[in-house]
């Protein structure tokens, strides 16, 4: 019997084990979306309590890891200070590619130095929209599979993959801008 099945019988201890297992990754994920630390802590607590209530009332969970991310994502998004009235701008893929350095000047040593810097990576990630950031975070940083990340974001797989591709190019574009500005590690 799985820990979730044990928890669904009202046992708190198996659920505490699940908290130990999933909290670090969920904490990183929520913190990537919610800039205020106290809000992030509150979101995570709310997420686990909501998850417990769902499970203890016999709710079904098919992909536990994706589901925990989905619950945490809901709690985080309730606290994301969205830029009201600002529509998402989707530029043509080729233009986005060029901003990301596709076919442009090449400086592998400076790019490598930039990629070595966690601070620069975090700074570039922080400039992405929340939807782009969560796609990169789930798939590339936390290592969820495509289907898991799509389930966590409640998107059809094809839609998630399109978003992820654009988000990676956006991130590369932010790094490219740093290279052109003369930044680096």
């Amino acid at each position: 019997m799985s820990l979730l099945e044990l928890a669904s019988q009202g046992e708190p201890e198996p659920f505490a084990v699940l908290i130990e297992r999933h909290a670090p990754a969920l904490q990183r994920f929520v913190r990537s979306l919610v800039s205020n630390r106290e809000d992030a802590e509150e979101a995570l607590q709310e997420a686990f309590l909501g998850a417990w209530r769902h499970v203890s009332r016999g709710g079904r969970v098919e992909q536990p890891r994706a589901w925990f991310f989905q619950v945490a994502r809901h709690a985080a998004w309730r606290r994301v200070r969205r830029r009201a009235g600002e529509p998402e701008r989707l530029e043509p893929l080729e233009r986005l590619g060029m901003e990301a350095g596709w076919g442009g000047a090449h400086d592998p040593e400076r790019l490598s130095a930039l990629l070595e810097s966690r601070e620069q990576l975090h700074a570039a990630l922080s400039e992405l929209s929340e939807t782009d950031r969560e796609a990169v975070w789930l798939r590339d940083i936390e290592g969820l599979s495509g289907p898991e990340a799509a389930a966590a974001t409640e998107l059809p797989l094809a839609t998630f993959k399109t978003r992820l591709h654009r988000a990676r190019l956006q991130l590369r574009a932010r790094l490219q801008a740093r290279l052109q500005e003369g930044g680096g590690a």
């Binding site: 908290i19 670090p24 686990f48 309590l49 203890s56 990629l115 990576l121 290592g143």
Partner: protein, 97 residues
Amino acid sequence: MTQQRRAGGLWCAEVLSRLSDYLDGELPDEERARVEAHLTRCDLCERFGGEMADLVRTLRHRLGERTDAMEGPRWGERFLRSLRREVTQAIRRDHEH
């Protein structure tokens, strides 16, 4: 990209649109072979594809599984303990009612 090339049966823009699926190993065999044929003949796409692969690999390596990446390790451990305590207390209260 100022000059689009056609190689391996694909234009550069078609390779760009498939790049993430290619890097994630999610292209069907035939399409993957066409992308690879293009990459062996187009240095610009090969270079950009390599840089994107480095970026994806680096994200996991540099930022994954590190609670101290943004906050410092103590915050992560302290918060985890407090989270477990508070959630389990709330669960017990739920359980008793």
